[in-house]
Symmetry: C2
Subunit: 213 residues, 2 copies
Amino acid sequence: METKKQIVSSTPEPTIRRLPMYLSYLKNFLSDGREYISAPHIASDLRIDATTRTKDLAYIGISGKPKIGYSVPVLINYLEEFLGYNRNDLAFLVGAGNLGTALLKYEGFKNTGLRIVAAFDNDTRKIGGKIGGVEILPIDKLRNMIERMHIAIGIITTPEGVAQSIADMMIGWGIKAIWNFTPAIIKAPEGIFVENTSIYSNLAVIINKIQNQ
Amino acid sequence: METKKQIVSSTPEPTIRRLPMYLSYLKNFLSDGREYISAPHIASDLRIDATTRTKDLAYIGISGKPKIGYSVPVLINYLEEFLGYNRNDLAFLVGAGNLGTALLKYEGFKNTGLRIVAAFDNDTRKIGGKIGGVEILPIDKLRNMIERMHIAIGIITTPEGVAQSIADMMIGWGIKAIWNFTPAIIKAPEGIFVENTSIYSNLAVIINKIQNQ
DNA sequence: TTTTAATAAAGAATTATTTCTTTATTAAAA
DNA sequence: TTTTAATAAAGAAATAATTCTTTATTAAAA
Ligand SMILES: NC(=O)c1ccc[n+]([C@@H]2O[C@H](COP(=O)([O-])OP(=O)(O)OC[C@H]3O[C@@H](n4cnc5c(N)ncnc54)[C@H](O)[C@@H]3O)[C@@H](O)[C@H]2O)c1
Ligand SMILES: NC(=O)c1ccc[n+]([C@@H]2O[C@H](COP(=O)([O-])OP(=O)(O)OC[C@H]3O[C@@H](n4cnc5c(N)ncnc54)[C@H](O)[C@@H]3O)[C@@H](O)[C@H]2O)c1
């Protein structure tokens, strides 16, 4: 039987993961007052092959001028647009513990399009309080709130053991993407996107490098 | 001119990043009381191709039995050994703020080989105190402490702007690997390994997925 | 025993990503 | 102007990683 492969000409994931790095670098560069930057320049600073970088930027639809390079402010604009920093994506966070608190207090999200509009916990001592200006609500309000506010992104910072059940709830009530900070492997149906921020993966790479000198 | 390519037959990085996932999954599986597990079984649960998984496990030197699968306790042992969870790798953390505090309090590191033995900050209100049982020391003690304790791993959770200067210090005094949680791009000489845990990269992937439905 | 079916292992093919090479463009210098 | 050199863009090649295919192994069933 013949299967037709669907061609989804989208930006490669490695590219997407590199884009915030360019943005951080360029903002820094701009603060030095320089207006144009060239591919080889970025490449040598970032230790990425110049071609890779040129292609990354081509994906987001910006081109430079030979002999001159790219306009840094334009580049920054394009990157922010592509990364959705001009959008306003609302998210809920479940698990206002150590990590949850750090995320709720995190100033860095202000520059991105992400806004955590409420947090949920099952610890009565936390419920009713505010962290980083965000209210902590009882977990049984989650359903109503997701449905009412059409929240698309759910952040999970609960203990590993309850992560799947929280995810199931979120998905059931309409969340489209889950940002999972726990080591749990979240199972989700087709169409629901799960992104893991796994500190253990990073640690594994570090330890592996150290072991092999 | 001819250049001879050095063949470093090491475990691929994607594999290394997946290993902690297997470990988490298998520990969970073990708690159900089952002793053996097969490749297709893991594969379907983890939504990774069965071959990929078999190859991943082959890299860490474990083989299964046809018709039976792998012994879960043995698999767990091998994974923990490979990931260095039986080692005792000492680390320093610089920047005892929101994120630093979460990491210092994090119970999860206890199972891994990583031990954060001291934290450093330049905020006099924090210095002298303890977070998660770890002492907060003044930043100017960093040199002496790294040299005396032969610390190999440096964790950076300071504001982005000072990250490079902290890294330079760490490298100068003998740190071999830097775990950078800031969005800064850390420049380091050959031989010093820098691992970035970049929340922005994760966010970028999520937003990109949402934008393209 | 012999057969069967589940499974691991090895190898081949495919796909994705990066790096290298060539060509085209253009601002600045001659 | 014309030439030069820096650079982007396009295309080709190489590399890395994943997925598919075949073969070998082995415990359980017949
Ligand atoms: N602390 C870190 O630095 C860090 C780093 C990486 C990953 N993580 C992971 O993040 C998760 C949280 O870690 P932490 O250190 O913040 O733990 P924590 O115990 O401090 O926080 C967990 C929070 O979840 C709440 N909670 C528990 N069950 C709940 C439920 N059923 N519904 C709603 N809320 C519930 C708790 O009340 C608590 O506030 C863990 O899975 C951990 O592995 C933590
Ligand atoms: N908070 C989060 O959830 C989060 C998530 C991802 C990444 N980050 C990144 O982690 C870093 C820290 O974030 P945060 O929210 O914890 O910020 P924070 O301001 O709470 O913490 C920064 C800490 O660094 C200390 N510090 C500042 N300059 C220093 C110096 N020169 N030497 C030693 N210590 C110094 C400060 O005193 C403070 O304690 C930032 O770069 C941020 O982008 C934070």
